[in-house]
């Protein structure tokens, strides 16, 4: 029986090459999209699931509460972990991890490593990172020892045995011995590192890890005993903190509350900052997009199948008259759809495999390189069958319900059965398409706005060189700057502790309010030299910028931005001039107010910023240089750099590129939406093409008669397209509020954003209309231009 069904299905597919092509192509594209997104979502959800103890591992995080704010940190101070382990028997083990950058030197080779972990020797007990050489117990026990990953070991020592080999860190000051070799950390680990240095090393290098309760910087993880209740443990932590540092917290008026996060929540749902972070919102967005793209393809199939149902009507009648049950016919038609979707499945798996490399690139990480090794094929087959059933069930029910008498009498002509449904589905497709088109336009409009908006400082032609590792910067910065200024092509050079778009420190500061009281708060700060304000072209609104002529400026003067002025309750910038400040041991007066400039991405509003002169903290130097001189200047500055930091590694970048890097994620998002929008448009067009070509065939006779009666080609075009234009108009009405709402959600993340322009929706609607008209025209033209005598003769 099934053989008979398959035979018929196969012959139908071959006979109706055009429609089969449209159906299979549509389903293939839809499924490929779906498969790729499925792998992406699965990968994202798989983070940290490779740890055997994953259900018993918890991350300790800290809420730091000061009089003015609450900081939700992902880190703890060094003593917290070991003390929790000592005080609570249900804690089996604890590990502290500190992720950092390091400069590794081996002979004359220098390597910048940005994925270095410093960790306790318990790391390998708690987590399932695989050691190949060395033992979990001993590998990280001693100071100045390290465990390398396979790829790092290969990079440093080639094929030689790395065990016992040494390398230098911190510009040759420290020698580290390799005591272990581990497998590379899996891509789906929220802890990214290429080597682990023993935590004992930090202690030996002068860090106090047992006493410094207020010095934050350690990720801390606990392994609980089987069956231990984390919530109960969490409730006991406030008392624990009180007993250890209660008086200190009170004295500093800074309170720490510890919380426990399940390991499986750390990557995806934790709201705290992290080096490697997932986005549950993106998971939702992509899952929805995958479903919608697949739905468009399914709708294409349903529309075409129901429109063409009459072609199969006679077969249904005959089969019923020789004794077929209705259910048997339903099953037969479902089999045909399943066959189609299995075809599409095979093609989709192949296509997904081909598209994996560019998809990995787009996602920014290696999701998979061989689709057959991901263990998802079973799921894909399941999806394919589900798609086949979903697409097939309605047409199958419609077909198998035909009454044999009606069909076989020959009085049966194309009915309007399912016309309403078809129209509804076409509208649905266009709603998705228009939302995606409008979405793409709004995303790109916003990104354009981000790049072109005046940030309040000059970001072009600003070269930045990092002078990290200069000993005694306080004495040398002036000379260094002078030498850089002497390089031909340099028109300005300024030192600071931070530059726009990069991390800046913050400090617990006291500033005088209007009523004379000192207000304490945690405020961002820049340490700058005398030229910073001038060179970055930042406007001074009141008072003056720093001046080398004023002797007290170097220690007792502060600049603030507008945000500080308003946050302290002053109404005019002038009012804060001359007020007192107390910050990190320096006391003095505020001498000037600068206009707000966006020193962070435009996603954030400008927050309060204080600026002081503190040469010890200088690291990046900003050098103004015209593009044509850039190469020469970089070479010149490198020579100066090498004189001052001989064992360092010369790094430079341009402020404008670097600042825009903050929007890389948003550009990636834009690209993905664009890709999906194009696919959605393509699929919807494909469906329309099939539907229209069928309608045209059905109406060939009508078109012929109309032409004989004097209709022009244009009349006929209008006749056939009016229907679709109406549907698009309805789709536009539905899509506009939907797209507006969705894009508003996305735009909300930006402190500086465009107003959604009304014409975006009109433009999206126009695109849809143009596509529909083009599709209709091509198909209709053929019919409209044929000699009516031909089409009428066939009757």
């Amino acid at each position: 029986m099934i053989k008979n069904y398959l035979k018929i299905a196969w012959r139908n597919i071959r006979k109706q090459k055009f429609y089969s092509f449209i159906n299979i192509l549509g389903l293939t594209i839809g499924m490929t999209c779906c498969f790729l997104i499925f792998m992406y979502v699965r990968f994202e959800l798989s983070y940290d699931s490779f740890h055997k103890n994953k259900d018993r591992i918890y991350r300790v995080v800290t809420d730091v509460k000061t009089p003015t704010e609450l900081i939700e940190a992902d880190i703890t101070s060094a003593p917290m972990g070991p003390n929790i382990k000592a005080d609570f028997p249900e804690v089996v083990s604890s590990v502290r991890i500190n992720l950092q950058n390091a400069l590794v030197t081996i002979g004359s080779n220098k390597y910048d490593e940005d994925r270095v972990a410093m960790a306790d020797s318990t790391l390998f007990d708690i987590f399932s990172f695989q050691l190949i050489r060395g033992t979990a117990k001993n590998a990280l026990a001693e100071p100045f020892t390290a465990v390398l990953t396979e790829s790092k070991a290969k990079k440093y020592f080639g094929s030689a045995d790395p065990m016992g080999k040494t390398f230098q860190m911190d510009g040759g000051k420290v020698t580290i011995k390799v005591t272990g070799l581990m497998k590379d950390v899996p891509e789906n680990s929220h802890l990214p590192f290429d080597m682990v240095i023993s935590m004992a090393t930090a202690e030996r290098m002068g860090q106090n890890l047992t006493e410094s309760w207020g010095n934050f910087g350690m990720l801390t993880y606990l392994l609980l005993a089987p069956g231990a209740d984390a919530a109960k443990l969490e409730k006991k932590l406030p008392a624990f903190m009180e007993s250890h540092i209660g008086s200190t917290m009170k004295r500093n008026n800074m309170y720490y509350t510890l919380h426990l996060e399940r390991l499986k929540d750390v990557y995806m749902t934790s709201k705290r900052p992290a080096a490697v972070k997932g986005s549950i919102t993106n998971i939702y967005i992509f899952s929805i997009v995958a479903v919608f793209i697949l739905l468009i393809a399914v709708i294409n199939f349903v529309n075409l199948a129901t429109a063409r149902a009459t072609e199969r009507a006679r077969e249904v009648g005959v089969r019923k008259s020789v004794g077929a049950y209705e259910s048997q016919l339903t099953f037969q038609f479902l089999c045909e759809t399943l066959l189609l979707s299995l075809f599409a499945f095979v093609l989709s798996v192949a296509l997904s495999q081909l598209l994996l490399p560019p998809f990995n690139l787009l996602a920014g990480k290696e999701i998979a390189y061989n689709i057959f090794l991901t263990g998802t094929i079973g799921w894909f087959l399941f999806i394919a069958i589900a798609v086949g059933l979903l697409a097939g069930i309605y047409p199958a029910l419609v077909l198998s319900s035909y009454k044999p008498v009606v069909v076989l009498k020959g009085a049966f002509s194309s009915s309007n059965k399912g016309l309403f449904l078809r129209r509804g589905l076409v509208v649905f497709q266009f709603v998705i398409t228009i939302v995606l088109i409008a979405g793409v336009m709004i995303v790109y409009y916003q990104l354009l706005y981000l790049q072109s908006r005046d940030l309040g400082f000059k970001k072009d032609q600003q070269l930045v060189v990092e002078f990290g590792g200069v000993d005694n910067m306080k004495e040398k910065w002036f000379d260094i700057r002078q030498q850089v200024l002497n390089v031909q092509g340099v028109s300005g050079a300024t030192f600071s502790s931070a530059i726009p778009g990069r991390f800046q420190n913050s400090a617990y500061s006291n500033i005088e309010m209007k009523n004379g009281e000192m207000q304490a708060s945690n405020i961002n700060l820049y340490f700058i030299d005398y030229d910073f304000i001038k060179q970055y072209e930042i406007k001074v609104l009141a008072g003056r910028a720093f001046s080398p002529q004023m002797a007290t400026d170097s220690t007792q003067a502060m600049l603030v931005n507008e945000a500080v002025v308003s946050s302290l309750g002053y109404s005019k910038p002038e009012e804060i001039i001359g007020k007192k400040f107390d910050q990190w041991g320096r006391k003095g007066t505020i001498i000037g107010v600068i206009k707000n400039f966006n020193y962070r991405s435009l996603k954030e509003a400008v927050s309060p910023l204080t600026l002081r002169i503190e040469p010890e903290a200088f690291v990046p130097m900003t050098i103004t240089v015209s593009p044509k001189d850039a190469k020469k200047v970089i070479a010149g500055v490198e020579a100066i750099y090498n004189r001052y930091v001989p064992e360092g590694r010369f790094n430079y970048f341009f402020v404008d590129d670097d600042f825009d890097r903050q929007y890389r994620g948003d550009f990636r998002f834009g690209q993905l939406v664009l890709t999906f929008a194009i696919l959605a448009i393509f699929l919807a067009t494909l469906g329309l093409l099939g539907l229209i070509s069928y309608i045209v065939i059905q109406r060939t006779k009508e078109i012929g008669i109309r032409k004989v009666l004097g209709a022009s080609v244009n009349n006929i075009l209008l006749l056939l397209s009016t229907d679709f234009i109406k549907l698009i108009a309805i789709a536009l009405l539905v899509a506009t509020p939907l797209a507006w709402y969705l894009m508003y959600q996305w735009l909300k993340d930006f402190a500086y954003r465009i107003d959604v322009p009304w014409w975006v929706f009109l433009a999206a609607g126009c695109v849809a209309v143009v596509i529909a008209l083009a599709t209709v025209s091509i198909q209709t033209m053929k019919a409209a231009m044929t000699n009516p005598v031909k089409s009428l003769r066939t009757e």
Partner: protein
């Protein structure tokens, strides 16, 4: 074998109804060859469809081999349909996508017959109708007479008790028509199959034992 009591059939048209058959009483005995005649629109095709369980009467009783068909559920009716009734259409109604062999095989598939038995049955019928050479052709590769031959073969392969033929020769020229009618006669006489045919042709009607005239939905 077939007994109709007070059978009526009407369709709703607007607020009223269109009566096709009115109060038909009819008995057809096993082994009979009956011809139903009447002008276009008199209701003869509808009567045949009711006999063949393709349509349900609006009123009245239908007994097949003494069993009340009008009280059967869909499943039982389909079983009766499969086992006892074969259909032959004016327009042949072969499935275009299937070969001659497969067309004939289809009813057996619905009877869930084992493959080996199916094969021998279809082979027998092909042999008997002399169309073995054509078994792999598709319907559009055959002449009208040949297609109707296949249609009859398909009706016969399930070994029905009765064959219902709706103007079986309506689309054929006279030589082919004669051949088909001879075949029906032979089936009726040799194989003892009950045959009910609807026809316009006086000549074809003479092949049967009895003629039932229908006019305006009534037996005249």
């Amino acid at each position: 074998m077939i007994q109709l009591k007070h059978i009526s059939k009407h369709y709703p048209v607007g607020f009223g109804k269109n009566e096709i058959l009115r109060d038909i009483d009819l008995r057809i005995f096993e082994g009979e060859f009956v011809s139903i005649m009447g002008p276009s629109g008199s209701g003869k095709s509808t009567l045949l469809h009711i006999l063949g369980l393709l349509e349900e009467p609006s009123q009245g009783e239908y007994l097949f081999d003494g069993e009340p068909v009008h009280k059967m559920n869909e499943k039982k009716r389909t079983q009766l349909h499969r086992g006892a009734i074969g259909f032959v259409f004016q327009a042949y109604h072969l499935i275009d996508e299937l070969t001659v062999y497969e067309n004939i095989e289809t009813p057996l598939l619905y009877k869930n017959m084992p493959a080996a038995e199916r094969k021998s049955r279809v082979a027998d019928i092909l042999d008997r109708f002399n169309i073995v050479a054509k078994k792999d052709l598709f319907p559009n590769q055959l002449s009208g007479g040949q297609q109707q031959l296949v249609g009859i073969a398909r009706a016969l392969v399930g070994e029905p008790k009765v064959i219902l033929a709706d103007e079986p020769t309506g689309n054929l020229h006279s030589d082919q028509a004669k051949e088909i009618m001879e075949l029906f006669k032979q089936l009726n006489e040799k194989d003892k199959i009950t045959i009910v045919q609807v026809t316009h042709s006086e000549l074809n009607a003479t092949y049967g034992h009895r003629i039932i005239q229908i006019r305006d939905g009534k037996i005249a």
